[in-house]
Structure formats: C-alpha cells, structure tokens
C-alpha cells in the first residue's frame, strides 16, 4: 500500500513538474523576446550614435541585459576578442544562448540571419538590418503572447491532469 502511495506521489510530482516546465517556457518566451528586442534597440544606438565597434557594444550590452540575453552578447564579444569572425562568433553565441533559453528555433533563425550582415556595411545599412530583425522579433513576440495566453495554463493543468489520470488508472 505504502509503495503504491509513494509511486502515485512520484507520478503526480513528475507530470506536474513537466507541465510546469512547459508552462514556464510559454511564459518566459515573450519576456525573453522583449529583452532581446530592447537590447537590439540599444545596439542600434551603440552603432548609429556611439559608433562603438561590435566587441565594445556587445560588452556594454552584456552588462545591461539579463540572463539569457546577456549571454548572447558576452559570448559574441569573448569569441571576437579571441580572433573569430563576427559571423562565426554571433552564430555560435546564438546557438548557445537559444539552448539555454525559452526561445524557439524560429527565433534562432531570425538571429542567425543577422550573422552575415553584422559589421559589414556602413551605419545606415547596419541600422536597416537591425531594424528588420527587430521587426521580425516583434511579430514573434505577438505570436508568443498569444501562445502564452492559450497554452501556459493548459500545460500546467495538462501536467497535473495527466498525473491524476495515471494514478487513477494505476489504482
């Protein structure tokens, strides 16, 4: 009997945690997208007004941005300082950051597209590319907010409900 109770508790705990994690991903994605958009807007200022080089701008942004977005800039800056190209550094940093965040592969693809343009042209063109990326991410944010409203609570209840159903079936 005790073993059954322990098993039921374990099942309930596991499914609830899975549901909670899924729900958390839906809740976190819009927030992280907003952080990313804000930081890219700051990058526009650093490039167009401050005329700072990319490693300098990234180092400043990494200090101002919260986790995991700060990681994108700190990694890119560190890799560039080691002598890697902007394209390679940004690409590696995006992959690393996305794996530690609630962002999706679609969001990652938008950021990866920026890799080939960063630092390669004059100020106006850089601003154009950054604004385009900001636009795409803003669309993704709207979609992420819709998804959060629809799926965050659902995932939480689904996790908990799956646990309850499994326990009833086991009994």
């Amino acid at each position: 009997m005790n073993l059954r109770l322990i098993g039921a508790a374990a099942v309930m705990f596991s499914t609830t945690v899975i549901g909670f994690c899924m729900s958390q991903k839906y809740r976190e994605r819009p927030r992280q997208l907003r952080d990313l958009i804000d930081s890219l807007q700051q990058l526009v200022t650093e490039v167009s007004f401050g005329m700072y080089s990319l490693p300098e701008a990234f180092a400043a942004l990494s200090r101002r941005s919260s986790f995991p977005i700060g990681l994108l800039y700190s990694r890119t800056s560190a890799l560039m300082t080691k002598g890697l190209s902007v394209e390679k550094s940004w690409s590696v940093a995006v992959t690393e950051m996305v794996s530690k965040s609630a962002l999706t592969s679609t969001d990652a693809a938008v950021l990866q597209r920026l890799a080939v343009c960063l630092g390669r042209s004059d100020r106006n063109d850089q601003v154009r590319h950054l604004q385009y990326t900001i636009g795409r991410l803003t669309q993704a944010e709207v979609e992420a907010l819709r998804e959060r409203d629809r799926k965050a609570k659902l995932s939480l209840y689904l996790g908990w409900g799956t646990g309850v159903c499994t326990v009833i079936l086991l009994y």
């Binding site: 490039v47 005329m51 700072y52 080089s53 902007v86 390669r120 100020r123 850089q126």
Partner: protein
C-alpha cells in the same frame, strides 16, 4: 601587406622582405607570400569586424588604430556623386607604426620662442618636410613641452588644444591620450581641422592650437581665424623646403596674414627629425 605578393617591412628607411620564419631577407623569392585571406583576417582584426565604425576614416583611405598607428588601404574605390564612398576588395594594407619620441623638439623650442631672453611665449610655428621625416613626432613633443612649460628657458606652461583629425598626434583611446601631450592639453580627437579650430576657440579657451597637415583651404582659413583670435598656432605641412612651400597656392593666405612667426624645415638626412633650418616667416 599586398595580396599575392611578398610580405614587406621597412626598417630605418630600408625595405626588406620577411621570410615565413619572421627573419628579414632581400630576395623576394624567399619571402612569405601574403594571401587574400591574410589581408581579410588582418583587416577583420584591425576593424574588430565593425566597418561602420571606420566609415569616415575609410573615405580618406586609411584608418587609425589605438596607439596612433595608421593603416593605409588599397583596393577598389567606390564613388558616390563623385566622392569616395568606400573601399572594397581590400588587397593591400600599409601599416605605419607610430611612436612618441620624448625630447624630439628639445632643440627646436629655444628657436621658436618669441623673446628668448625673457621667454614668455612661443611663436606660431609651421613644420615642413616630406613624408616620414618626423613632423608629427616633433609636433607632439612641441605640444608636450609647451603644455608643460620649461623653466630653464623661462617658458611658462600654456593651455594647448590639439585638433587631432587622424588621431595620430595624441593617439586617443576612449578620449584619453595614449601619448604624453602635456598636463594642460585638451584633445579634439577625430575632429576636422577647420571645425575643430573654431570649436576650440569658442569652447576651450586655448593659448596654443596644434594641428597636423594643413592641406585644404578650410584648414587655412580656420588657422587664420584662430591667429586673429589671438591664439598661437602650431601646424605641419608637406613640402621639401621653405621655398617650395612658399609657392603652394593654397597656403598663400597664411603668408599674407602672417600666421606663422617661425617655419621649421625637417629632413631625414641624419635620421627622422633632422632640423635643416628655422626661418622667420613674418
């Protein structure tokens, strides 16, 4: 560095080729052949992959690195409305290592004082020489000495403003001069000479304005304006000798307005910074 050609370095005015091991040689066959990729990688490191940050400098055909080192660029020049827009397909980089030589102007200072006996100030001075004869090095040291003052000559410390259009005189990094330019020196880093001279007059109340390589009529007019404002001016100009420079049409207004009290002619006869002659121009 020239793509698909041997790596070359100039030591004390003499060109050498560089082997793969890093040793100098005179035969180009033994030298390291610079690849296109070498140029691109070097360019990427020099610009930190941020071309936009060097946009204006590139239009002039060179960029300045921290430390005041100048990198000349060779490649395909793209024009926009008849003006240089950018240089692409960069295939050659010419790196000039800058170094400050403290004391380079020591022997010149007594000769440009307005009253050597009770030296209270310096005369406006123009340094003339062909390229690579140490004009900028001497100008930097002049700025340092004038800003610090020299009690042995009775020279008081002056408030100096350096208009460092190409960041070569003070080699500022994040606004801080990397070379010693004196305790009472302000630097307008990366500022065009014409605008800088007027800005300095209005905002920084200088006693001496220092600037490099006068070449445009706007620069000439700004120096005349500064001189008329009661400020002493120190500048450089390309030229073989005083007679040749005197004939340059663009500089005529400077002589007509008696902007410079002294003209110092330099050469590299006994090494860079050799003082050939000092003229009173007024």
């Amino acid at each position: 560095m020239r793509a698909h050609r041997p790596l070359t370095a100039c030591f004390a005015g003499e060109d050498h080729f560089i082997e793969v091991s890093g040793r100098r040689c005179m035969n180009p066959i033994h030298a390291y052949g610079v690849t296109w990729e070498d140029i691109q990688a070097t360019w990427q490191l020099m610009t930190h992959g941020s071309l936009y940050a060097f946009e204006e400098e590139m239009k002039r055909g060179y960029i300045t690195l921290p430390g005041g080192h100048r990198v000349g660029i060779a490649g395909k020049v793209i024009l926009e409305r008849g003006e240089v827009h950018l240089i692409r397909d960069i295939a050659g980089l010419n790196l000039r290592i800058a170094r400050a030589v403290k004391g380079a102007a020591k022997d010149v200072v007594p000769r440009i004082l307005s009253r050597p006996k009770h030296a209270v100030s310096v005369e406006s001075t123009l340094l003339i020489s062909p390229p690579q004869c140490g004009k900028t090095t001497m100008l930097r040291d002049l700025a340092r000495i004038v800003s610090s003052g020299d009690p042995s000559l009775g020279l008081k410390a002056h408030k100096v403003v350096i208009i460092d259009e190409r960041s070569e005189i003070a080699a500022c990094h994040r606004g801080i001069p990397q070379h010693d330019v004196g305790p009472k020196t302000d630097v307008l880093d990366g500022c065009p000479k014409a605008e800088g001279a007027l800005m300095a007059l209005r905002a920084l109340s200088p006693e001496v304005i220092v600037t490099d390589e006068i070449g445009r009529i706007e620069d000439v007019n700004a120096l005349i304006e500064a001189r008329n404002g009661g400020v002493c001016v120190m500048a450089t100009a390309h030229g073989k000798d005083w007679e040749e420079v005197k004939k340059r049409p663009i500089l005529q207004p400077l002589w007509e307005s008696c902007v410079f009290g002294r003209v110092v002619v330099l050469s590299r006869r006994r090494g860079p910074g050799t003082v050939e002659s000092v003229h009173c121009s007024s």
